[in-house]
Amino acid sequence: MEEAKFGDYVEVHLGKTIYEGVLLESPEVGICLLKLDNGYNIGFNKKDIVKIKSIEKAKETKNKFDIKQDKTKPNVALIILGGTIASRLNPGKGGVDFVESPEDLFKYYPELFEKVNISKVEVPFMKGSENMDYKDWQKIANVCEKYLLDGTIKGIIITQGTDSLHYSSAALSLFLRNLNKPVVFTFSQRSIDRASSDAELNLECAAIAAISDIAEVMIVGHANSEDDFCYALAGTKVRKLHSSRRDAFKPVNRKPFAKLYKDKIVLVSEYNPRDEKKKPFVDDKFEEKVALVKFYPGQSPDILDYYSEKGYKGIVIEMMGLGQVAVSGARLSWIKKLKEVQKKGLIVCAAAQTINGRLNPKVYVTGRELLETGIVYLEDMLSEVALVKLGWVLGHKDWAKNIETVREKMLENFAWEISERLEEE
């Protein structure tokens, strides 16, 4: 007897009891899954199975789905990087994994084609965003450059997993210089196989943003829990603030560029307009030896030794309140150690733990004491953005060799990362 394969219609014999159904791959070792005729999946411990008899071999089903081209609509390039938005159920496995081809993805999103013509699709890699790093950001930037320079393309949509999306958007905001057209990141928090997926509105609005006048790197996603409109959020003034809600990405300290509806766009705040004459370029130099440390009460400053000794070039400390860590008078003061490591050449920057609001070291005596050690206070810059920016600034060797230049560049506003006026959503 031929061995039963996944997808076969089989009989599972457990002593006297026999179950019939389609044999599925199980997400767990030692268990075999069966899809019954009523659609339900049930499982068996492999050791309890006497035999599995194949009744009917699995049918090979290959559905071809062609990307439809409509030359009358504006061209948009799509870059797919993985994440929930590019995942779907693998019916043979009973789990979720990435789609195998862009065509596969389009099957789920026919609405994406209503306003735009997806003329180019690129998949530089497929990974969960938690596995991404600066090399991936560089890869994305270089793919983007090609389409930024392509006059037939109106804008770029990039789909990525949400976990590190605000790092990617910060990196691209800095890497893509002299930007001439929209670069739009979008995502989904609900998998695309469900009727309630947020991907549909997000993608439709991303398409609107991609052909808009906003020549910025932005994140487009649900503005609230409703399927009503999305925000176009500045790539450097946005943070994932919820682990599961549709509106996980919220603007911080700056209003969104725009509100995006299925059929219209409402401009909200200042942005750089589309300019076909601009010559964009990629500046993706990056120093990997940078770190982000969150200060907590009672934390030993010895942690700074670790980074210093490991050869780190820069560190962002997420400080409390207006910019505080433990100072003179505390059981474990950071003052001495901060002076020491900075003297050895470690760049120390400060960003806010509170996420919202601006640092101001001058309000309290303690802040002034810290300021005097040489720390660069980064105003209202988000700590994640600060980390990416520090890596980018220190990646420029000519800037990095002078501490004053580093300070100057860290406080120079490249892509809205510092707000002169704090605004709320």
């Binding site: 019954l36 049930i42 997926s197």
Partner: protein
Amino acid sequence: MVDYEKIGFKAGLEIHQQLDSHKLFCKCPSVLRNDEADFEVKRKLHAVAGESGEVDIAAKYQSALNKEFIYQGYDTTCLVELDEEPPHEINIEALKIALQIAMLLNCRILPISQIMRKTVINGSNTSGFQRTVMIACDGSIETEQGKVGIDSVYLEEDSARPNGTRDGKEIYKLDRLGLPLVEISTKPDLKNAKHVKEAALKIGDILRSCKVRRGIGTIRQDLNISIKDSNRVEIKGFQEPKIMEKCVELEVIRQKIFLDKGEKNNSEVRGCLEDGTTEFLRPMPGADRMYPETDLELLKISKDVLDEIRANLPQLKSEVEEYLRRHGLEEELIKVLFKSNKFDDFKGLFEVHGNARLVGRLLLVYPKDLAAKSKKSLEEIEKILDLELIGFILDRVNKSQLHEQDIKHVLELVLEGKDIKDAIKLEKKETGELEEKIMNLIKEKPGLSVNAYMGLVMKEFRGQISGGEATEIIKKFVK
């Protein structure tokens, strides 16, 4: 009369029963709200093509596609109902209740099962699917017309509650969404209209012996019916089993009329109306599109859990009835007891003191009588006549320190504010005095019949003594 066998009658039941526990995939309480919602959220659902690229026919019919829905939430709902948070682990209590029901239906429990998503895009589920898991199969129940097979038992989430429309948008309340529900489907073994009703009642009986919700809307029965050569019809919305029998008869006739004309009825879902007739609701849905709930692990039922449940299986209502009957509780009181919420009180008192009849009276009859007589509310009376007091009285009766016929009077004294112990003493004294007076009366007029004395006593002591009490005393002195 319809000859069900001759016409090739086939019917199976599908019963949905809400369980009395918190929600299935979050910790929200299972409370239905009638007050104004705390917030509203507008959402859309999209048709999701299956793996084959086809959209389900029922899904197509639901013009729901890309329609907007309004969901109303409360402080008793959370992000899980809103489809803004992944499901939490399955509610273990609900799972145990469902397993208990499956066992009482003599089913085979599935040791490993996968929680599934059943596509539902009429808006009644924020996610676009209903979470459901098959927990058992191949059971049976005994009926007077033979065995009825139980095909399968499922544990699933209830849907959101429709709450009208606004500007053409359907409104749903989130309060019911996620409430644990057991679905039981029988095999098509039902032989005739009467049998359908009997099986429904039998399953209802089994359900009510477990921790399930009671009242209107907590149980929903659907019926699949066909006769030879006709198309299967699903009938929904039986408010009570009573109407089932009539509805089945009418549906059989309806299907037969088509066949007699050489036509065929449509395969469709119909709703049962109050008079037992049915109306068209929607076309029969295709096979449910089911796929795994990937946010949750496989559901495994351990042997320990099964042993624990098996050791604590409840008795069926019919078995309890039989038990009460055997111990002398009258039919009338059995009925009253099941309608009341005092079954546990009854059981507790009966187990300690015995005397089902008297326990029944003390719990169910006397409080009402006393309320009527004293013009106090039943609640006030029951507050005073609490379990402790009833227990005390039963104890005294068992020790022959109090006559059953005196209880009512003692209770009246208690309601007047007397301590129960004093009331019993007083009653004894009063009865003693009365007895003496009756004895004297008999002595004065010797030689009469019991009935004659009865007349005299009642004339003399009306209001102080009941007929029964009088007879009893008279009988002590007259042979």
